[in-house]
Symmetry: C2
Amino acid sequence: MAGVIHIVDDDASFRTAIERRLKKAGYVVATYPSAQHLLDCLPSENELGCILLDVRIPGLSGPELQGRLSEIGSILPIVFLTGYADVQTTVRAIKAGAEDVLTKPVSSEELLAAVERALAHHQLMRGQRNQLEIVRALIAKLTPREREVFELVIRGKTNKQVANALGATERTIKAHRHRVMEKLQVQSLAELVSLAERAGILSSPSGTGQTN
Amino acid sequence: MAGVIHIVDDDASFRTAIERRLKKAGYVVATYPSAQHLLDCLPSENELGCILLDVRIPGLSGPELQGRLSEIGSILPIVFLTGYADVQTTVRAIKAGAEDVLTKPVSSEELLAAVERALAHHQLMRGQRNQLEIVRALIAKLTPREREVFELVIRGKTNKQVANALGATERTIKAHRHRVMEKLQVQSLAELVSLAERAGILSSPSGTGQTN
DNA sequence: TTTTCTATTGTCCCATGGGACAATGCGAAC
DNA sequence: GTTCGCATTGTCCCATGGGACAATAGAAAA
């Protein structure tokens, strides 16, 4: 699987060694002497890739960089490279979403296998994220009012109930509802609910408080 | 948080030592000299608990036991206790769902903190699993025919379309649909779709192939 | 054999959803 | 000042959903 491998390590000779091995395997490589360098020049999320990250580096540490990237919504998989076995750190890194943790020195098989897994994972994640973003983008196009109607409709409210809740005529709700279905490109209520569920809306059921 | 801690370790003196520490902290403790012993006498999933599991034990290893438990659907959190730092094993354990990995000798703070996290996690998981099981149980009560109707309805098919698809009258579908709503205890299509989504049905959209 | 469950279908009727066609009022942008 | 997007509401009409009441038929269970 082709991809860009981002190596973050303060040890220049190590970077070069790893870079050479990866390039030989056909990967595109970018190297960074520190976490900050990577943050300053954020890799595009649009191309397949992963990060090979040293745990202990001057300045921002590996796990710290992991946290920053996570905060800004990055889904670039991270493979940690650590000088010595530290179970505590390993556990935290994996739980924080790291793809793998390898110990130096790392064999080429280990390294390449981990990178392949990371790239495959990134592939998957990107697919999922794209789906989600497409849906979110559609929802973002709703006007505030349409959004309100949307929220109630996907919870099973009838037009009449929505009308009462929002202080408008049933006819008006019908119009909003129509535009919602149009903008979200769905033909049925089922699809609308399904879409809302996938978009992460709809967490609290909020029953069907009959108030005809 | 009260709970039953299941200790699996072949070292009797270690078991006893940990047991004493946990009992002092107010936990109920059960000890097992091997993974097989725990499998033979499976802890009830109904009570809050977690497993303290040695990685290297004669017979079934810790990770192997983890695999077995996972296969049979156990959600008891596992905290591994390992004699020496093994990053490879640690990564696998955590990725396989282990709650934590601690190295021996383990401090009481570390141990108790991990146990508390494990219990809290178990609490959460049990809640989620119960929700899911309630829904699944409801769905399981559907007759085969009702199930077919259900599957199509939650994908946005109209009664007419379902009738054509299943070779029955629209009226018949209406009857089935009614019983589905009744059995699944929902009042609206939106709730039905929502429920299906939560139950894990509904993965492939399968559009709204208009075939009136 | 009788009961029970499941699947099937009917009719009558009303509430709800949704398309077509049309229009008004109000801010904000140009 | 005019245009544009948004919210609002109307009427007419039809398709669909869904409740009420009722009934038939086959298969499985008691």
